[in-house]
């Protein structure tokens, strides 16, 4: 257990640019242990880049990322891998391995450690699939045989299979109908609470943000322009957040349209 003043995830001065385009600029973000942070923002605002930097899939140009008070840049590669091994990730499109069956996808992280036999991993995969409302028989299917909602569930099962301390969700409800979106959000909330995990979700689905998040932040122009409680999202008093959450065409956020 961390002391109260050390957040589970701390980001300071994070900057990432692609050529001349600065995608993240001086990002400061704290996520307390056991809470869920939702990051909202328009398409191309850098939400996915933020997650990938924290995950180590992209190298930031500047700034620090701390997990449990450890700066990932200051520790050796084994400790860094261990820290990142404690993170589970649900990708936007599921990112299921299409050459493997569903159960092999779910058990992949367990088998990668080399400490779980194939038979045990299969049994654990069936138990995790049950947690996300899928029958054990689904385990023998290939990902291509699943609907979009089922793929999200399998992706969620894979993310939680190794019981990570930190969970990331990249657009968890994108491409789903409202009912299935609510089902996935409910499963995410259940999983996060059951595991006691710290979570970061990125989305531009306001209903999803309200259901998943304890805290919320908005990215715009490479900066976090607002942070607060998730239940204040629809009434934040920030003109950018208000325009975004209410989907207004006019406001401080101007879309760049070519004519």
């Amino acid at each position: 257990m961390l002391s109260a003043d050390v957040p589970k995830i701390r980001v300071r001065g994070l900057r990432k640019a692609f050529g001349d385009k600065v995608v993240l600029d001086s990002i400061d973000l704290d996520v307390a242990e056991g809470t869920s942070m939702v990051v909202i923002g328009g398409s191309g605002s850098g939400k996915s880049v933020l997650l990938k930097c924290i995950l180590g899939l992209m190298k930031p140009d500047a700034g620090s990322i701390e997990i449990d008070g450890l700066n990932l840049a200051d520790i050796d590669s084994a400790e860094r891998e261990a820290a990142r091994g404690a993170i589970g990730m649900l990708f936007q499109n599921g990112a299921l391995f299409d050459s493997l069956t569903v159960w092999e996808n779910v058990a992949f992280g367990l088998m990668a450690t080399g400490r779980v036999s194939r038979a045990d991993a299969r049994a654990q995969a069936a138990a995790v699939l049950a947690q996300v409302g899928l029958a054990a028989s689904v385990g023998d299917l290939s990902p291509a045989e699943l609907s979009g909602g089922m793929q999200k569930r399998v992706g969620l099962a894979r993310a939680i299979a190794s019981q990570p301390q930190i969970l990331f969700f990249d657009e968890p409800t994108t491409g789903l109908d409202p009912i299935m979106g609510a089902v996935i959000d409910g499963l995410i909330v259940d999983c996060v609470k059951r595991l006691g995990s710290t979570a970061i979700a990125i989305t531009h689905d306001m209903a999803s943000a309200a259901r998943i998040g304890d805290r919320a932040a908005m990215l715009f122009g490479g900066r976090l322009v607002w942070q607060g409680a998730a239940d204040q999202l629809l009434d934040s008093g920030n003109p950018m957040v208000d325009q975004f959450t209410h989907g207004r065409r006019d406001g401080p956020i101007q879309m760049e349209l070519r004519k």
């Binding site: 990938k52 995950l55 180590g56 899939l57 891998e81 990142r84 091994g85 993170i87 589970g88 990730m89 990708f91 936007q92 499109n93 990112a95 299921l96 391995f97 299409d98 050459s99 992949f108 992280g109 990668a112 450690t113 080399g114 894979r158």
Partner: protein, 261 residues
Amino acid sequence: MNAVIDLPGALGRLVLVFLGAIGNTVLFGLNGLSHLVRPPFYGRLFWRSFIDFAYFSLPVVAMTAIFSGMVIALQSYTGFARYGATSAVANIVLISVVRELAPVLAGLMVAGRVGAAMAAELGTMRVTDQIDALRTLSTDPMKYLIAPRLLAGLLALPLLVLVADILGVMGGFIVATAKLGFSAHSYLTNSINFLQWNDVSLSLVKAAVFGLLVSLMGCYHGFHSRGGAQGVGAATTSAVVSASILILAFDYVLTEVFFAR
């Protein structure tokens, strides 16, 4: 005027990009190969790649070898008949097939079949975040995806070329005995007497190098593909074209090193 002044600069940039690409490819290959001696090892993935490379390429390589041997027999017979040297047909077929045609044509065939498939599979994994997903599951993509494929290419093509050597010579034998009037006994005796172990062993060395090149190009271009379906298509094309050119270039280099007197 500006374009003329800028020409040396543009050429310089082109050379730098070219050298950078070579450096990146070599480092990528060395990184992949280094995982072959560092556990964990993914034997199942190696066998899957090996079977795909060797077993499923066998029909196309076999057909190519047989017809190449048949054509060489016909061409060399009609050419040598002008000088009354038709007795050399068996030797020409043997040396052409074993030293050149079997390794080069088998390499080009698997570049089109296996190299393209590797690039397409890895490229799709890249653009659908599957490679990023591997990293989040404590698995090094170089170890899991690249190393088994490089080893499969290195070991599978020599086996294919050994088969192609035999079938290519058989193709020449069939044409020589069935159409050109050679006696089976004298044709085979000539071939066996002319055959040197050096020819076969160095043909297999060529095959190993070409197999590694096919895998390396397929893996490199697929692994670095970007931009959706169009990017995967471009990666696949680049994998086949670059592997084909490299096979022909390395064929010259290896021939110069091993066979030139």
